[in-house]
């Protein structure tokens, strides 16, 4: 049994403009101590998935409308708010994107850390303070005893994120969700914070879900990667396998839109044309079809499930032997993957049925 099992998770937001189809049936598993990357562009449902796991979706708009989330066998979606609160911080913790806003500006670091520790343990104030000092030292904050009394605005962004990491790991959670933990930081600080996160979680055996849009970050940090697009997982594989053999047209497109050091000089980047689909519409067909160079006529109407790249193989969900799976009717060949575009003679991406072409065109104009 995996530590975290998410199955068929569906999250929708009810807003005044209608329903937002944020997450449309996402399944993944995370083993104890495993690091999983959740990659995709803004709005693809990465953060919503993690907030749904934490049961922290903004209310009353956000709803989990289907699926199951099991942590160590406990069905999280069935817990009462009080039971869930007891679990948060102790079993599963979270680090947020912007360290500048995720600490309360009017409370000292001491107040915020000791509060967290004491909310879940029987420690006395002195014990909790000692633990907080120890944690701050562990995340590399100099003079932790004096810095503990400081307010958040007296820390730099990188230091604040270290404090957030210290708070998240204070109670030895078994799963840590890091939602773009370094996006708001300078590149040099990014590397330090990521290394710290890696070292601390490896030491304590904490499983990590690392959410990011930065493929460079996941490459160095994770064992497995889920690529998300428009509320679906479109490709999943071990990190090494994914970078060696990217197989979904979207993943191929992502990798080709990043400049590479080993690229031939003057070789152009290949951007993914178009924009992500409007998630205010119920999804029909493959969500990537409108932007895909490999699309078939069937792609407009059929959304294929995640299936093993090599048919007939038993599917391994977690670990180093996890099966490489993609959701695609017409995966690129290795040559096409390398080129970043279809090279089969005479192949033309299937035109949209009916008005869909106009929809795509207007979507681009509106953007």
């Amino acid at each position: 049994m995996a530590l975290l099992e998410v199955e068929g998770l569906v999250v929708r937001f009810r807003t005044h403009e209608g329903t937002i189809y944020a997450v449309n049936g996402v399944s993944f598993h995370v083993d104890d101590g495993e690091t999983l990357g959740l990659v995709g562009e803004s709005g693809c449902g990465k953060s919503v998935t993690s907030l749904a796991v934490m049961r922290l979706l903004p209310r009353p708009a956000g709803h989990v409308e289907g699926g199951r989330v099991r942590l160590d066998g406990t069905e999280l979606l069935d817990l009462t708010e009080a039971e869930m609160r007891d679990l948060r911080g102790r079993e599963v913790a979270m680090i947020f994107q912007d360290p500048m806003t995720s600490l309360n500006p009017v409370l000292t670091i001491h107040e915020q850390m000791v509060e967290t520790i004491r909310a879940h343990t029987q420690m006395t104030a002195e014990q909790a303070t000692a633990r907080a000092v120890e944690l701050l030292g562990m995340v590399g904050i100099p003079h932790p005893e004096t810095r503990l009394k400081a307010f958040p605005h007296e820390f730099s962004g990188g230091m604040r994120q270290r404090v957030m990491i210290a708070m998240a790991l204070a109670l030895h959670p078994r799963l840590l969700i890091a939602d773009e933990p370094t996006t708001a930081l300078d590149v040099t600080i990014q590397a330090q914070v990521l290394e710290l996160l890696r070292a601390l979680t490896a030491e304590s055996g904490t499983a990590v879900i690392l959410i990011t849009h930065d493929l460079g970050v996941v490459a160095g940090m994770t064992r497995r990667i889920n690529v998300m697009y428009a509320g679906y997982i479109v490709e999943t594989a071990t990190t090494a396998e994914l970078f060696a053999h990217p197989s979904h047209p979207y993943t191929v497109g992502l990798l080709h839109s990043i400049p590479r050091l080993d690229a031939v000089e003057g070789e152009p980047l290949i951007p993914i044309e178009g924009v992500p689909p409007d998630q205010r519409r119920a999804p029909v067909g493959c969500p990537f079809a409108p932007r895909c160079a490999w699309r078939l006529a069937a792609c407009w109407t059929t959304n294929p499930p995640l299936e093993s790249l090599v048919p007939g193989m038993p599917v391994v969900l977690t670990g180093d032997r996890a099966t490489h799976r993609i959701a695609c009717l017409n995966p690129p060949t290795p040559d096409e993957t390398a080129a970043g575009m279809p090279s089969r003679p005479g192949f033309v991406a299937a035109p949209a049925p009916g008005s869909a072409v106009d929809e795509l065109a207007t979507a681009e104009i509106v953007q």
């Binding site: 934490m54 922290l56 903004p58 209310r59 609160r85 007891d86 679990l87 948060r88 911080g89 102790r90 913790a93 979270m94 947020f96 994107q97 912007d98 806003t101 995720s102 600490l103 309360n104 500006p105 009017v106 409370l107 107040e111 915020q112 509060e115 967290t116 909310a119 879940h120 307010f151 605005h153 007296e154 957030m164 708070m167 998240a168 204070a170 109670l171």
Partner: protein
């Protein structure tokens, strides 16, 4: 390896921040209008506190023979139609007005915080119900509401404080609820929830301290209108109920009939009302600027 550095500008020494309130206090003292406002209030506070030492007269006893004297050295602001010293009555009136104003705003804050915090903190049906009640209260003009409450509870100082306080409650409640709603979606509140902090703890420790700033500004501004409202109630004959007590509003009513003969009798209490109200207004505006993080440098 040492990187070449180019000093373009001399580094500005970073002034150590000593906390929000001390910084705000320093900015307030550098704000001209706010200083004027504070001076006005200070004059009235000192006058009210030291009234027995500043004037030899009694505010409720006068010599009928001395009635309606024009301002002179013996009676700085003249005497009223019962021969009482006007200056003494304005000073003692300041006592009552400041007292009633401050306490009624305090009542308003108390009720407003209770309602606003319950609505913003609990949300859902509690929020909907409380806010509809507040909407109803807001729909009734404040002074009318106050008159209604006094008509119901009878005349007296405590009734005035409650009446004016209740008429401010919906303003504070709305303001606090709005701040709390905005804070509910902030990163640090979600972060606090993500580590399992309880609802009450988040409300009391994380949200309320961040929501008090606008309340303080609004309360200071409300002091200005509270003083006017108290005087207004007095003017309408719903003052403390004891004709011997000096109250600015009642002083206006009493002198209005003699406007043609003794205009100074209406001038001084009116000026006292206006100056104290402007004083609180200026301080309130100054506080708003001093506490606004966007204006901080």
């Amino acid at each position: 390896m040492t990187a070449p550095t180019i000093a373009v500008t001399r580094p500005v020494p970073q002034r150590a921040s000593r906390g929000l309130w001390r910084d705000a206090g320093r900015r307030l003292l550098r704000n001209g209008p706010a200083l004027i406002g504070m001076t006005c209030i200070l004059v009235f506070v000192v006058g009210a506190v030291l009234a027995p030492f500043l004037t030899p007269y009694d505010p409720s006893i006068g010599q009928l023979a001395d009635a309606r004297q024009t301002p002179s050295l013996t009676h700085l602001m003249g005497t009223d139609l019962l021969g009482r010293d006007e200056f003494t009555r304005v000073l003692y009136g300041a006592r009552l007005s400041l007292q009633l104003g401050v306490i009624s705003v305090f009542f308003g804050l108390l009720f407003g915080i209770l309602i606003g915090a319950s609505a913003g903190g609990l949300g859902g049906k509690v929020d909907a119900l409380l806010m509809r009640i507040v909407d109803v209260l807001l729909a009734v003009p404040g002074i009318l509401l106050a008159i209604g409450i006094i008509a119901w509870l009878g005349r007296g100082n405590i009734q005035i404080m409650l009446a004016v306080g209740v008429s401010y409650t919906p303003i504070f409640a709305r303001l606090l609820r709005g701040s709390l709603l905005a804070l509910r979606e902030t990163d640090y509140v979600i972060a606090a929830r993500s580590i399992g902090a309880s609802r009450l703890r988040i409300l009391v420790r994380h949200m309320l301290p961040n929501a008090v700033t606008p309340l303080i500004v609004q309360a200071t501004l409300a002091l200005a209108t509270a003083i006017i409202d108290v005087a207004g109630l007095g003017f309408l004959g719903l003052g403390p109920g004891d004709p011997r007590v000096a109250e600015w509003g009642e002083m206006l009513t009493d002198s209005a009939r003699f406007l043609q003969y003794a205009p100074y009798l209406i001038f001084f209490p009116a000026a006292a009302i206006v100056i104290s109200a402007i004083g609180f207004n200026l301080v309130g505006d100054g506080l708003r600027e001093a506490l606004d993080p966007r204006l901080r440098h």
